[in-house]
């Protein structure tokens, strides 16, 4: 599991400020690191609480989609921050998709779009991982 902070993207925050509207407070979340996910997924309840709307749609294959017939998922722009007492790494405009995850006790699958900018070391015997960012 990975702690991170999820908020609206910087461009959307700028648009809200320009319109004189409040900017939603970023939310502390727990995500599951998933090397099998090529894109980060966020639970719809989180996206709803941030008030974001879709700005894209992407084709997606899962184990249950038929070959050559991907599912089309709504895409959203958010900010995503990995926070550590010594440093913070922020993605100010990250593309994510929505997927029902809350019933699994998590709010996100942290995919390879994030991991590709990090160094992850998995210690299978200890059952731990370290993430450098």
């Amino acid at each position: 599991m990975l702690d991170f902070v999820c908020g609206i993207s910087k461009p959307r925050a700028d648009a809200l400020r320009k319109a004189g509207l409040p900017v939603p407070t970023p939310i502390n979340l727990k995500g599951l690191v998933d090397t099998g996910a090529s894109i980060t997924c966020i639970d719809p309840s989180v996206l709803k609480s941030l008030g974001v709307v879709s700005t894209g749609a992407i084709p997606l294959h899962t184990p249950s989609t038929k070959p050559g017939i991907p599912h089309f998922a709504n895409e959203f722009d958010i900010s995503f921050a990995l926070v550590h007492p010594q440093t913070t790494r922020t993605w100010f405009a990250l593309r994510v998709i929505e997927a029902e995850l809350a019933h699994q006790g998590i709010h996100a699958l942290v995919g390879r779009d994030i991991l590709q900018s990090c160094l992850m070391t998995y210690d299978g015997q200890a059952g731990t991982f370290a993430l450098g960012f």
Partner: protein, 80 residues
């Protein structure tokens, strides 16, 4: 029906004309291409500047669209 049906239709209609900019990002509102930008963040910034909080689409320009993968089965909300 997707939430951005009209914008997706516009994008696919204009895709042959956009392919000279493959790898860049198009911003689409209604039946108009608002511009093409080098990065996703630039396209998003222009989308919000030009459209404010009204719906718009940011789409990467690819002759063959990149398909994303998830190795687990998930439930997705209806994309409307």
């Amino acid at each position: 029906m997707m939430a951005l049906d009209k914008e997706l239709e516009t994008f696919h209609r204009e895709l042959p004309n956009l392919l000279a900019n493959e790898g860049k990002f198009a911003v689409v509102s209604g039946d108009q291409i608002l511009g093409v930008y080098t990065s996703y963040e630039d396209a998003l910034t222009i989308g919000y500047e030009k459209c404010g909080l009204k719906p718009f689409l940011v789409k990467e320009i690819r002759a063959i669209e990149e398909v994303r993968f998830l190795s687990r089965d998930l439930t997705f909300p209806c994309p409307t």
